[in-house]
């Protein structure tokens, strides 16, 4: 066993660190924890996301692992994990979760050559921003039961229906859409994947307010929207398989763990420099216990990220599915534990969102609210537990009607 990075990997890590340390100085004052909320909830946030995307695109770091023929660097999995790790530590935006994280791998896996040549370069250059057209009011965990239709008519598909929880739908130029192309089909059969422009006639984006009033996600309504048939990705009717592959293109989750580590460092510093009842918060036994628990959880959780990289390298895809579910589950619950403990340690100050009295810029109470979504999106943690049980432990799968 060997946990050492190679010299090349160490050098690359330093290069990433230098870049992010410098560029994050350009972040808007109120940028907060980074993540989806900071990118989508303000104009400045999204502008900074675009700024970083272009800077990263210049370095080809948005296409790190892609084949060279599509503008990639063919970086190893380990190198990609190191990138995620460092970027997560700095809570840096710029890597569009939907464009780079999900749609690009989908294109590489299932698109035609024409589509790859047309759609990949803008993503690699940090010029294309996407949202995800998956969930519907009646199709959340049971995504395969979507009812939005895309019916073929000549050179187009006509889309009718409604999507929900569309993060960044109000900012993105494009969407990748899962819709039913065979209206007589049920569940996973007869679904297809499309690329579409958000400015097409018939698309209406309606904001949904998050519990604190911020605008992150949306409902998106489709009324007779015409998508060119050239924008069908993969084979018509086989979109469910492609979508399941997309779900598996999870990054290692390394960013989540390093992000937690950085926040814990900030919390520790805060407790050492803040007094209550005659002593620094860091001397309070309850606070000490909480911070030690957080330290341990972030240390042991981090091992999952590198295990995923290793399993990927060995092409052990079954174990990879289990490990990815474990990582998503663990890192999101760690984030909630961090937000809970931090806001508890802060005493009544733990509830302040903004302003001169809010500790750590209100980032912990912001995390408390937004990380509640994290255990729900990208597959609820209950679904993740099901997957671990089914794939990892071989326990009987649920049978659907």
């Amino acid at each position: 066993m060997d946990f050492k990075l190679t010299e090349k990997e160490e050098a690359l890590k330093k290069e990433f660190e230098t870049f992010f340390a410098a560029e994050m100085k350009n972040a808007p004052a109120d940028f907060g924890n980074g993540g989806i909320e900071s990118i989508y909830t303000s104009d400045e946030g999204f502008e900074f996301h675009k700024y970083m995307a272009r800077k990263l695109g210049e370095k080809k770091w948005l296409s790190l692992g892609w084949p060279k023929e599509y503008g990639g660097l063919e970086a190893t999995i380990m190198e990609q994990v190191i990138f995620d790790d460092v970027r997560g530590y700095y809570s840096a935006p710029g890597v569009d979760a939907f464009a780079v994280g999900m749609f690009a791998p989908t294109l590489l896996a299932g698109a035609t050559e024409e589509q790859k040549q047309r759609l990949l370069p803008p993503i690699a250059n940090g010029e294309a921003y996407y949202c995800q057209g998956w969930s519907e009011p009646d199709a959340g965990s049971d995504l395969a039961s979507v009812t939005t239709t895309a019916i073929r008519e000549g050179d187009h598909y006509i889309v009718n229906g409604q999507k929900t929880w569309t993060t960044g739908g109000h900012k993105a130029e494009f969407m990748f859409l899962l819709a039913r192309t065979d209206p007589d089909s049920k569940r996973g059969k007869g679904l297809s994947v499309f690329h579409l422009r958000m400015d097409l006639p018939g698309i209406e984006v309606r904001p949904l307010a998050f519990m604190d009033g911020k605008h992150v996600y949306n409902e998106v309504f489709f009324k007779d929207v015409k998508i060119p048939a050239d924008d069908l990705i993969g084979v018509e009717g086989e979109g469910w398989n492609l979508t399941r592959q997309t779900m598996n293109f999870e990054r290692s989750g390394a960013g989540g763990f390093s992000g937690a580590k950085k926040m814990l460092e900030g919390l520790i510093e805060y407790t050492k420099s803040t007094k209550r009842d005659g002593q620094p918060l860091s001397k309070d036994p309850n606070a000490r216990r909480k911070m030690v628990e957080l330290y341990i959880a972030s240390e042991v959780g981090k091992t999952l990220a590198y295990k995923i990289a290793w399993l990927h390298e060995k092409k052990d895809f079954m174990s990879l599915i289990t490990a990815a579910s474990e990582s998503k589950l663990f890192s999101t619950e760690l984030a909630q534990q961090l937000a809970n403990y931090a806001t508890e340690i802060m005493g009544p100050y733990g509830q302040l969102e903004h302003g001169e009295w809010s500790p750590l810029g209100g980032s912990m109470v912001e995390l408390y609210q937004f990380c509640k979504g994290a255990t729900i999106y990208a597959g609820t943690n209950e679904i993740q537990r099901n997957l671990i049980a089914w794939t990892g432990l071989g326990l009987p799968r649920l049978k659907f009607k």
Partner: protein, 372 residues
């Protein structure tokens, strides 16, 4: 990065598994637990032939010089079988103390005997207060002509009742802590087994005017705590490895049970509540195992692992208890019986929590190491 074991390590693991599967089925474990000696001399003798006891000792003392990570593999497999033996007390704790602080003469005399399975040793450190810290060691060692005289009480001395020699941590007045080799059969020493959940050889040991010579000192007077701390690094890792073996076996047997036990005409493993418990158990185990592997590697690379070992022990303490509690829950009523094996692990999770420092001790140590 390489997260696989070597072929040799896989072979070692397989050989330990094969030996223990054959030599110590769970019925034998229960028999040893119920015996007065808490020990099978016959099994110990057979084990001594396999080279495990000298595995990590340096070659100059009759050992094989293997990295300590290989010992962790043996401990894991022992943990899977809930195997009761003085291996941890003798080979790990006392072996490490001798290596860290013993004179060349002491090492040459004692280590080969341990390797041959001919010397059983026990560490007597904790006292009546039950503190893991240096300040918990107060048994007086009074200077006398040619040596010292020990008087006092030690508690939780594992395997002291079957030991040939003890290592006793004592305090030499203002001079600090010293470690002494003591003949376990000294007439001034009295043993009482403490009935404990682990059904192991935890002993209360009383010392009345027990004489030891200057040559029985391990290291110098005042160096005892440092030697114990050095031992504690690797011993903690070894104990965590054993506990993780117990976690693995608990998950495996519970998973097997859930797949075959039927209620409402269907295996209970199909119920979501059971599946979610199992998933939580698997994550608890996986994260702890991977972390143990990382810390074992750091240790073999010679890196400082003070923080990491406290984090590891606290983590494994809590997760072994969690996993075994859920495991018994999933087994239902039969999980609470002596006949079914899962109870062995439920009890061990609680017992092993206290060896090499409990969770609160390690939380405090970690807080100090993080400079909170």
């Amino acid at each position: 990065m390489n997260l696989d074991y070597t072929k040799e390590q896989d072979m070692l693991r397989k050989s330990v598994d094969e030996f223990l599967s054959k030599e110590c089925p769970f019925d034998d474990v229960r028999e040893i637990e119920d015996s007065e000696s808490g020990f099978s001399a016959a099994k110990w003798k057979k084990m001594a032939k396999l080279g495990w006891m000298e595995l990590y000792f340096p070659e100059e003392y009759g050992g094989l010089g293997d990295p300590f990570g290989d010992v962790a593999i043996i401990m894991e497999e022992m943990g899977k079988k809930a195997f009761p033996s003085p291996f941890f007390s003798t080979v790990i704790q006392c072996g490490l103390i001798l290596l860290a602080g013993g004179s060349d003469k002491q090492k040459k005399e004692l280590l080969p005997k341990i390797a041959a399975g001919k010397l059983i040793m026990s560490l007597a450190q904790l006292e009546e207060e039950g503190s893991y810290r240096a300040t918990g060691i107060n048994l007086p060692a009074q200077r006398a002509a040619g040596g010292f005289i020990l008087n006092g009480i030690k508690m939780f001395a594992m395997d002291a009742n079957i030991a040939d020699k003890l290592i006793v941590a004592a305090r030499v007045g203002e001079e600090g802590i010293a470690l002494f080799l003591v003949d376990a059969k000294d007439p001034g020493i009295n043993y009482t087994k403490m009935d404990a959940i682990g059904k192991d050889n935890l002993c209360r040991v009383t010392f009345k005017d027990v004489k030891v010579g200057d040559g029985d000192l391990i290291g110098g007077v005042g160096e005892g705590w440092e030697i114990l701390e050095q031992m504690a690094q690797k011993a903690t890792l070894a104990k965590c490895a054993e506990m993780l073996g117990g976690c693995a076996e608990s998950i495996e047997m519970t998973n097997a049970y859930a797949k075959q036990r039927e209620q409402y005409s269907t295996p209970i493993g199909g119920f979501q509540a059971i599946q979610h418990y199992m998933a939580d158990m698997q994550i608890a185990y996986d994260t702890s195992l991977y972390y143990m592997q990382k810390v074992a590697w750091m240790m073999d690379e010679g890196m400082d692992t003070t923080k990491e070992l406290s984090a590891l022990k606290a983590q494994v303490n809590e997760k072994f208890k969690f996993i075994t509690e859920r495991a018994v829950q999933i087994h239902g009523g039969i999980g609470t019986t002596r006949e079914f094996n899962i109870g062995l692990f439920y009890r061990r999770a609680k017992a092993h929590e206290y060896i090499m420092g409990d969770t609160d001790y390690h939380y405090a140590k970690l807080a100090e190491a993080l400079e909170l």
